[in-house]
Structure formats: structure tokens, C-alpha cells
Symmetry: C2
Subunit: 140 residues, 2 copies
């Protein structure tokens, strides 16, 4: 989704700024991924592999079909960023793990995605706490 996810006419200022935030965040994420020739989905998946895990677990965590994970992992594997090791106890299952090159790319992605860091960094520690509290309350 490169197109912004927001109504043009928000019914309050808070809603409008929320929309702006989401839009800028998403674009920044995609741009950071693109710097490393990754798609958002690839960068996202790579970021979930601090520990190796099964395809099913990834699908559940990311809220999509397992066959989607199969494909994204296949592309990451083709790029040499990920391996699919056999599960030691269950021969049906595969464990996805980052390669050392995958670690490196993931590290560089985290460095490239400065938006959240920068945005939060514009606030004082007190303000950061306020923001956290407000967003938590808003999220319900």
C-alpha cells in the first residue's frame, strides 16, 4: 500500500494528524526498505527473525496466509538473506533463519528507518511519556 490510508475529511484535528502520521510512517518504512532493495514485506519479515521460527508462526504473527510467507521467504532466500532449515523434531516443519548477510541487511535497514526514532526524538522525555500514555489510551 503506497497510497495513503486516510480520509481526506477528518472530523477532528487529532484524526487528521493521526492520518498524517500513519502516512508518513508507512512511506518512510517503504523508502528505508527500498534503500536496501527490499520491499516493505521483506524488510518486515526479516525483522522478525531475531530468532529462527517456523513458517506457521510467522504467518500467525503477521496475520496473513501461510502461502504468502512461503513466497516472501522464497524471495529472501533467493537473495541469500534467509535459510530454511529442517526442523530437528518435526520433518514437516521448516525453521526460517537469517543468514549473516541477512543480519547485516537487517541492521542496515534498522539504521535506515529513522522516522520513528527521529519523530520521538523531537519530544522531551516527559513528552514522550505523555505521548505513550495518550496513544495507549486511544488504542483502548
Amino acid at each position: 500500500m503506497a497510497l495513503p490510508n486516510g480520509p481526506v475529511a477528518a472530523s477532528s484535528e487529532a484524526e487528521a494528524v493521526l492520518f498524517d502520521l500513519v502516512d508518513v510512517y508507512d512511506r518512510a518504512y517503504e523508502a528505508a526498505a527500498a534503500e536496501l532493495s527490499l520491499t516493505s514485506a521483506q524488510a518486515c519479515l526479516l525483522g522478525r527473525l531475531d530468532e529462527r521460527r517456523g513458517m506457521g508462526a510467522l504467518a500467525e504473527e503477521l496475520g496473513c496466509d501461510a502461502s504468502n510467507i512461503t513466497q516472501i521467504v522464497a524471495r529472501l532466500e533467493a537473495l541469500g538473506l534467509v535459510t530454511r532449515e529442517p526442523h530437528p523434531r518435526d520433518r514437516r516443519a521448516r525453521l526460517v533463519a537469517r543468514t549473516s548477510r541477512g543480519d547485516e541487511i537487517n541492521r542496515r535497514f534498522a539504521a535506515a528507518f529513522t522516522f520513528a526514532r527521529t519523530a520521538v526524538g523531537r519530544l522531551s522525555p516527559d513528552e514522550q511519556d505523555q505521548l505513550t500514555a495518550l496513544l495507549r489510551k486511544a488504542l483502548g
Copy 2:
């Protein structure tokens, strides 16, 4: 992008809650669109047509290639939600406008996308102002 756009390891709580917010927002937007058998991109584009406008203007506003707009508009047109009228003065240009059915669907989409409204509604007026101010500052 249905996959969440966020690093697993945020370096602060504020970052983590920001990520949560973006994730939930995006999913809610997509779900609301799906209720009306629309994609996010279609719902988004439909929402920008309170006044009719040219393809180029839409592409610029949404930050994507004009040919992408051509396709999305074509699908919306096939659904009877949008028309492509000839521009009165410039015969190269087309003006995209919602049909009455498009208006209706857009209205229903706005009603279905409750997330931002609900989230903001959990805050008192004062808190809403605080949130707005904090996010504006964070956005720079």
C-alpha cells in the same frame, strides 16, 4: 501492505506504541474497505473525489505513477463508482468524478472506518489537543 510496518525491537516505548498504532490503523482501514468489497487503494482514491479532478492531480497527491491511477480508476469505473469525463478545455485530460453510487459507497466507507474516530473518542477534549500538539511536534 498487509504486513505490519514495524521493527520488532523498538528502542523506546513511544516508538513501540507508534508502531502499534500504525499497524492497527492500516489493518482497520483495509478491513473497512473490504466490508465494501474495495481495496485500500480504491477506498483511498474514492475518498479524494469530493471534487472531480484530473488523473495527474490524483497521481501527484497520492505520490504514485499516473499509470497506477489509470488502473485503479479503471476498476472503480468498472464498479460504477466513478466516471471519467472529458475536460471541458483540454481534450487530453480526463476529470474523474464519483457517481452517485460512488458517493454512497464512500459515505458507507467513512462510516465503516471507525478506528481513528473511536481512538480519538477515547480521549477527553484536552487530551485530544495534547495528542495533536505532540504528534505535530513529533512530525517536525
